[in-house]
């Protein structure tokens, strides 16, 4: 019994001990889940089709697309005016405006005008707060 529980740690490979152990536990748990939920897993295609079917695809994928464009554009735009945070400011204004319009139902000018004011005011305020007041780096 003493030999079974005895463990010698080699410092050079000690970084692999815990990840290996956790990986093995995850594998066993995963296997147990697969065995227990095999019927549900077999029907997972239906589950995802239902989610996609009921989903508001325009708003969901639109949000994802806008987010990816926003993240991708910030650095190149910021590089035009380095160390000013302009990348954040100039990309955030269209992001807030576009995602606000995307989220809005029954788009009307009455609803869009306050959104446009917020789209300009909120990023500008945040940009000023973080760059001028807190001296933090923005893209």
């Amino acid at each position: 019994m003493g030999n079974l529980t005895h463990v010698t740690i080699n410092f050079d490979t000690s970084h692999l001990i815990f990840p290996t152990l956790i990986g093995c536990i995850l594998g066993l748990l995963g296997l147990a889940i697969v065995i227990r939920d095999r019927r549900q897993l077999a029907a997972s295609g239906t589950h995802w089709r239902k989610i996609l079917g009921e989903m508001d695809k325009t708003r969901f994928f639109g949000t994802l697309a806008l987010t990816v464009i926003y993240f991708s554009a910030m650095v190149p735009v910021g590089d035009i005016w380095p160390n000013t945070g302009m990348g954040f400011l100039l990309c955030s204004i269209p992001l807030v405006a576009a995602s606000g319009l995307l989220f809005m139902r029954d788009r009307t000018a009455k609803k869009a005008i306050p959104l446009m004011i917020v789209a300009v005011a909120a990023p500008t305020l945040v940009w000023w707060l973080f760059t001028d007041l807190f001296f933090l780096t923005l893209p």
Partner: protein, 493 residues
């Protein structure tokens, strides 16, 4: 204590301001105290630890309290912790007593907050003093216990445990930290990503992604339903409010506050369990249980005292053991990390001023919450009508700030936000649990150090069972939480 060493007009202003913003977040369905803290975390970079914590604790108390507004006026819980407030609060509002129900809830919230604060002040230093004596074995077992409690409270035990271990696994990506006794070697880094993942995923982008972006995606998936209009808000006519309504209810208030605090002390259990337990107890001990669910003020009192009792309770394990009591206090770890302060058994002893500042911030936040909500409740009631198409884009922008500034400007942290935002959304679809995942992610690196260093020192696995009576006691608790949950889930089926 020398109050003047930390209290200042800015300290008070940040606490009150945080409480106000927290109430607004809590009052809007779909937005939570956790999201409020996640979004406002970057603001604390330049504030220093005490002032930063003042802001975040205000957000926490306000966020939990604000949930009662839509729960009572719309029948929709603003936060998960106000779920039982709807049961009696909404019928009261429909009967024209919305304002009265709100004021009952606000007063009960104050009592819950103050009782839990008292318990926090008395209990956390004692527990911390006790925990100082813990070796790596006991520390490792406490983490295991925290994970087992959370997994046990998940809707599915197996998936809850899996989520916790998945969190640990992902936290191990990167370098085995030399400063913690590691050998500085990389592991689990996919080829080609070494440049970005050398230090693993940063905590804050992961948290902001899971609690901020995932919530936005969730709302977008369901079509970002139109907000409520003023005519939906059933606040009713102005009624004179008297404390006599609490006559005979003080035991209910104190009991519910204590239940909430106790639930908060259990790692990762959350506010919904606090309010449900308090509510069911109030119903059990009531002389008129048949009135519950039909507009009984005692139900609103129990639910609100219970969920606000959670606020102080959840800070007990965080400040004495370094283990977050719920997802919001998990974010507070981020604030401590930003300021280079480690929470754990030594925290209170080594940082007495910060400890006192936190207690005062909680006190001010509870009082500010009461004053603001009690006297301006009709204005707060209108908060539920703020359109989501204005709020969510601004939150998305704030999420980016939080992720980008954590490591002073690394764009990969922003992409991490997106990765974990999508991952958080997927998790809910495949029934994985976010809370055990987060706790696993936060505590994984510490668990590794405690585990490996114990084996390096003792060279035998039996040490985890034989080191001390505390180790044995912790194993019993782990077995009880997992075994009890497995039994209950089998019985339910």
């Amino acid at each position: 204590m020398d109050i003047l060493s930390f209290i200042s007009p800015l300290f008070v202003l940040l606490t009150v301001g945080g409480t106000l913003v927290g109430i607004i977040f809590g009052a809007i369905p779909g937005m939570t105290a956790t999201m409020a803290v996640a979004v406002c975390l970057p603001v604390t970079y330049s504030l220093g630890l005490d002032n930063g914590l003042a802001l975040l604790l205000g957000l926490y108390v306000g966020g939990i309290s604000g949930g009662l507004v839509p729960a009572i006026l719309l029948g929709i819980p603003g936060t998960p912790s106000s779920i039982t407030t709807t049961l009696d609060g909404y019928p009261m509002a429909k009967a024209g007593h919305g304002e009265k129900a709100l004021r009952i809830g606000i007063f009960a919230s104050l009592v819950g907050g103050l009782v839990s604060l008292l318990i926090l002040d008395l209990f956390a230093p004692t527990l911390a003093d006790f925990a100082i004596k813990f070796s790596y074995v006991e520390k490792f077992l406490i983490i295991l216990f925290a994970l087992s409690v959370m997994a046990a409270l998940s809707s599915d035990l197996l998936l809850g445990i899996f989520s916790g271990f998945l969190g640990i696994f992902i936290s191990l990506i990167g370098t085995y930290d030399v400063t913690k006794g590691g050998n500085g070697e990389w592991r689990l880094i996919p080829p080609g990503t070494e440049y970005w993942l050398e230090q693993g995923f940063s905590l804050l982008p992961v948290l902001i992604g899971l609690f901020g972006l995932a919530a936005i995606l969730d709302e977008a998936e369901t079509g970002m339903k139109a907000g409520m209009s003023q005519k939906d808000v059933k606040i009713g006519q102005h009624e004179k409010f008297s404390l006599s309504i609490f006559k005979g209810q003080w035991i209910n208030l104190i009991r519910s506050s204590c239940i909430g605090t106790f639930v908060g002390i259990l790692p990762g259990v959350g506010g919904s369990a606090a309010s449900i337990l308090s509510y069911s107890n109030a119903k059990t001990f009531s002389k008129n249980p048949e009135k519950f669910g039909k507009g009984e003020p005692a139900g609103v009192m129990a639910s609100e005292a219970g969920n606000n009792g959670l606020t102080g309770g959840a800070l007990v394990p965080l400040l004495s053991l370094g283990i977050p009591g719920d997802s919001t206090t998990a974010l507070l770890i981020g604030a401590f990390t930003l300021q280079g302060v480690q929470v754990g058994p030594l925290f209170i002893g080594n940082n007495p001023v910060t400890w006192d500042a936190m207690i005062f911030a909680m006190l001010i936040a509870n009082l500010a919450m009461f004053v603001m909500m009690y006297y301006a409740i009709r204005y707060f009631a209108m908060v539920v009508t703020i359109p989501k198409y204005i709020l969510f884009p601004v939150i998305l922008m704030m999420c980016v700030i939080g992720a980008y500034t954590i490591n002073y400007g690394i764009m990969f942290d922003v992409w991490t936000l997106l990765i974990f935002g999508i991952f958080g959304w997927v998790m809910t679809k495949i029934r994985l649990e976010v809370a055990p995942f987060i706790i696993g992610f936060i505590l994984g690196p510490s668990a590794e150090v405690y585990f490996v260093k114990t084996l390096e020192s003792f060279g035998d696995l039996t040490i985890f069972f034989t080191k001390s009576w505390i180790a044995v006691f912790l194993w019993v608790l782990i077995a009880l939480s997992v075994g009890g949950s497995a039994y209950l889930q089998t019985k339910k089926k």
